[in-house]
Structures are given as structure tokens and as C-alpha cells.
């Protein structure tokens, strides 16, 4: 099996350890990666989507066309990329007039959007394509006794209509919990499981307001399930939870730390990856979690 890796800005330039983790995991699970050479920003919400619909979809379409030429679906670890590209595909496939307009723009670079490939979120791909059993069988380490607070991320859930695959009920997500449980950890429900991380436009506009969301979420995770670890399905959520906690502790907004990691990184660790390579750029302290990885004999 072969997929195109849509890496996205934040993963390539901010958290390349997550990029490394994805490449390691796919290799370990026997999935071949095409790099989709020439891919760009999805484009993210604050750029072309905020200027003009056709411009947004033209840039998104150019990314899809690269995957169409390689005849592979795209997989991403970033919720924002998944959201923006899913909206692009949904609108171009559904609105003929818009597709015509965008294809007219694409003529200038000698290209045409056909709509023959999909964009998939890594966690959905693991759940639906690889499957829980195959993941369990591939593990070299497990995480028994670790309690995980999951953060599926907004863009894996809503608007459910634009996503090619997702939760049965987007207000009661179970996929990331089951994926964590497959590693031997527990991943219970907590009351703020659906809450937004506050990254993205909110953090750029008002960082203190965005920290309010972080605090509400982390407090809920801490008090209700005593989470040892926060696991996200989205690189934007990862960056927010990994970097917000130190300044919040300094300002006495919280008096604890919950180490934070992307599911792909956690899976890489359980498949035997070198921690320096797959979580080496973490700000939160993962040493306690690394110490709990138990080798399967």
C-alpha cells in the first residue's frame, strides 16, 4: 500500500520530530510513502480562505493534483490541513460552477483538478485502514498503567459532512480513545473531551484568551481522570499543549504539567522508535512516560 504524505507547515518546520515519527510508523506498518514533491501550505485558514473562495480552492486543488498525478490518497497529521483540504474537495466536487472557475485558474499552470483522490487524517487512517488488531500485533512496547487524556481536535470532527471518514457521532468521539487503548493504556472519557485547544487564529489574536481554553481542558483532564499524558490527533493541538504549559505555570495559572504528545509519536515509541528522533523537540517532560514503556517479550 502507498499513500502521499501531506506534511503541512507546522510539522515540517516546527515539529519535524512528528514528521520523523510518521515516516517511522508508516515504514513499520508496511505502508509506502510518496513525498508529494512540490506540495505547499494547505492553505491555512488565516491566508487564502480569508481572502477569496476560488483562491483558497485553487491552492488546495494544486495539492490534490500532485496526489492525483501519483495516484495516491493523501494522509496528514495536521487537523488544520485536514480541515482546509477536506473543505476544498467537498466544495470542488459538489459545486460544478466553482470547479469550472478553479480549473480555469489552474489552466495557467497547465493543470486540472479531477477529484480522484482523498485527504485522510493519520488517526482515521490507522483506525480504518490499518486496524486496531494489526497495530496491536506490531507493537514492541506497551504502556500499561498509563492514563491518557485524549484530544481528538476540532478538525477531525466538524463539520462531519465534509469529511470522507469520521466518528459515528462527532460529539462522542471514540476512535482516538480506542487507538490509545490498543497500546495498553487507558483513555477514559472526561467532561471537556470535546473542547478546543485554542491554537490557530485564537492564539494569534489573543494568547491569554487561548490559554483560558487550555486551562479549562487541562484542569478537567487532571481532576476527573488524573491523566498522566495528553495525546492529540492534531499537530496544532500538539504545539499548543506542548508550549502553553510552561508560560502558564510561570504565571501561576496552573501548578502542574501534563506531558503532551501526538498519537503518531506515541505509536512510534511503542513500535520501537528512537525517542530522540520522534519526540526530541518536546517542551513538556516526557521522561516519566518513556520510563513506563514496557518491552514485549
Amino acid at each position: 500500500m502507498k499513500v502521499g504524505f501531506f506534511v503541512g507547515c507546522n510539522t515540517a518546520f516546527n515539529r519535524p520530530d512528528l514528521e520523523k515519527a510518521f515516516r517511522f510508523v508508516m515504514n513499520a506498518l508496511g505502508v509506502e510513502i510518496d513525498d508529494l514533491d512540490g506540495q505547499s501550505c494547505c492553505p491555512s485558514w488565516g491566508t487564502m480562505p480569508s481572502v477569496d473562495e476560488a483562491g483558497w480552492y485553487a491552492l488546495g486543488a494544486r495539492n490534490f493534483i500532485i496526489s492525483e498525478e501519483k495516484n495516491v490518497d493523501m494522509v496528514t497529521v495536521c487537523g488544520s490541513c485536514y480541515g482546509s483540504l477536506s473543505e476544498t474537495k467537498y466544495n470542488l466536487d459538489k459545486r460544478a460552477e466553482l470547479r469550472e472557475k478553479v480549473n480555469e485558474m489552474l489552466k495557467a499552470i497547465g493543470k486540472e483538478y479531477k477529484g480522484s483522490t482523498k485527504i485522510r487524517l493519520a488517526t482515521n487512517f490507522f483506525y480504518n485502514e490499518i486496524g486496531i488488531e494489526k497495530i496491536k500485533n506490531a507493537l514492541k512496547y506497551t504502556l500499561e498503567g498509563v492514563t491518557i487524556g485524549v484530544q481528538p481536535g476540532c478538525h477531525s470532527l466538524w463539520p462531519s459532512e465534509v469529511y470522507s471518514e469520521g466518528e459515528k457521532d462527532p460529539f462522542h468521539p471514540v476512535m482516538l480513545r480506542e487507538l490509545c487503548e490498543a497500546l495498553g493504556a487507558s483513555a477514559p472519557y472526561y467532561s471537556r473531551i470535546l473542547d478546543c485547544c485554542g491554537m490557530g487564529g485564537m492564539r494569534s489574536t489573543n494568547v491569554e484568551a487561548s490559554y483560558k481554553l487550555v486551562k479549562t481542558k487541562l484542569d478537567s483532564m487532571k481532576e476527573e481522570i488524573k491523566a498522566d499524558l495528553l495525546v492529540t490527533g492534531c499537530s496544532s493541538c500538539l504545539i499548543q499543549f506542548d508550549t502553553a504549559q510552561a508560560p502558564m505555570r510561570k504565571d501561576k495559572k496552573i501548578d502542574y504539567e501534563i506531558p503532551s504528545i501526538h498519537y503518531v509519536q506515541l505509536l512510534a515509541l511503542c513500535l520501537g522508535a528512537d525517542p530522540q528522533q520522534v519526540v526530541g523537540l518536546s517542551t513538556t517532560d516526557l521522561s516519566g512516560i518513556l520510563g513506563k514503556l514496557k518491552k514485549i517479550n
Binding site: 506534511v7 507547515c9 507546522n10 515540517a12 518546520f13 516546527n14 519535524p16 520530530d17 514528521e19 520523523k20 513525498d35 508529494l36 514533491d37 512540490g38 506540495q39 505547499s40 501550505c41 492553505p43 491555512s44 485558514w45 488565516g46 491566508t47 487564502m48 480562505p49 480569508s50 481572502v51 477569496d52 473562495e53 476560488a54 483562491g55 485553487a58 494544486r62 488544520s80 480541515g83 485558474m105 489552474l106 489552466k107 495557467a108 499552470i109 497547465g110 476540532c154 478538525h155 466538524w158 463539520p159 462527532p170 473542547d195 478546543c196 485554542g198 487564529g201 485564537m202 494569534s204 489574536t205 489573543n206 484568551a209 483560558k212 481554553l213 530522540q276 528522533q277 526530541g280 523537540l281
Partner: protein, 187 residues
């Protein structure tokens, strides 16, 4: 008691709703102000003054200036909870995006948004760290990812598309005028 602000709605901007509808909020007029979107919105939880329901209300009564003076629209997370729960299929997120498009046409956009657009045009990425190569090498990756940032041909394609878009007529970021005349396959 807090001071009550009274708006003279007869002074609202006529035609503002039509502008927003044209910019991508086609179902705007179906809103009944039920506030289901507000109940689901992270911006409400974080304490922003204008969020989906209030943005829609302000548009409907023509209060363009109020929305241009407030930066709340840029704090929208694009999470689409509102789109999911709206009983009238208004797609409140589409309204917020249309409002951003209107604000951009009035040059009312945050510096970070300008920088993001500029970075997108310059290297093909809204988020870009020129010194990322060091961290990439540290984790065992090639210094440069296989993207527009390292593929001049792909970057040229992306710029041609941005030149073909409305952005080129807005004068927000410097763009290469030479790429605007490309008509077909001259890449």
C-alpha cells in the same frame, strides 16, 4: 450599572448583508438568532466580544464599522461546531470567513495575517522557520522538506495561482506582476 450602548440602526450600512452573501455566506438571511452556534463556540468560552451569533446579528443590521474595529473575527478557530449544530443550515463559519474577506477589502486585517499571506507567497507556507533545517537534521530528516520551499518550479505555480486570485488586486502584499499575465501552460 453598566452603561448601555444604544445603536441607531437606521445608520447601518445599507447593502452590507448583500456584500457578505456575495463573499461566501449564501445562507446568511436564514439565521433566526437562536444562538445554538454561540453555545458551541470556543470564542464564547474564551470571552471574545463578537462571536458567530453576534457577528451575524451585526451584519444583519449593517454594523460594518463595529466589526471592522474589533479583531474577534480573526480569533475564529474554523472549528465548525457552529456549522454542525445550526438548525437553519446558515453555516455561521462561512459568515465569519465572508466577514474576514470584507475586512481584508477594507485593509482591516491583523499584521499576523499579512505576514502569513506574505510567507505563503514567498515560500508557499503560512508558517515557515528559515532555521528549521537544524532541528530537521537533529531528528534524522533531510534539512529541506520536499515542498514549495525547496522546489522553485512548484513555488512558481503557486504564485501564478495567487496572482490569478483576488489577492493580486488588493495590494496587501508585494506580488510579482510578471506572473499575472500567464494565460496557459507557460510555467
Amino acid at each position: 450599572m453598566a452603561e448601555v450602548e444604544v445603536l441607531n440602526i437606521s445608520e447601518g450600512e445599507v447593502g452590507f448583508s448583500d456584500e457578505i452573501i456575495k463573499l461566501g455566506a449564501e445562507e446568511l438571511l436564514d439565521c433566526i438568532q437562536c444562538a445554538k452556534c454561540a453555545a458551541a463556540c470556543p470564542m464564547v468560552l474564551a470571552g471574545f466580544e463578537f462571536f458567530n451569533k453576534r457577528i451575524i446579528q451585526s451584519i444583519l443590521i449593517g454594523q460594518k464599522e463595529i466589526l471592522l474595529d474589533d479583531n474577534s473575527i480573526w480569533a475564529c478557530q474554523a472549528c465548525n461546531r457552529c456549522t454542525e449544530v445550526c438548525p437553519r443550515k446558515v453555516e455561521p463559519f462561512a459568515v465569519v470567513m465572508a466577514m474576514r474577506r470584507s475586512a481584508i477589502r477594507e485593509f482591516a486585517l491583523p499584521t499576523l495575517a499579512i505576514e502569513g499571506l506574505k510567507s505563503l507567497y514567498d515560500v508557499g507556507h503560512a508558517v515557515y522557520f528559515a532555521n528549521a533545517g537544524e532541528n530537521r537534521k537533529k531528528v534524522g530528516l533531510p534539512e529541506k522538506p520536499p515542498t514549495t520551499a525547496n522546489n522553485p518550479q512548484a513555488l512558481k505555480e503557486l504564485r501564478i495561482l495567487m496572482n490569478k486570485s483576488v489577492l493580486s488586486s488588493l495590494g496587501i502584499i508585494p506580488m510579482d506582476a510578471g506572473l499575472s499575465d500567464v494565460t496557459c501552460c507557460e510555467v
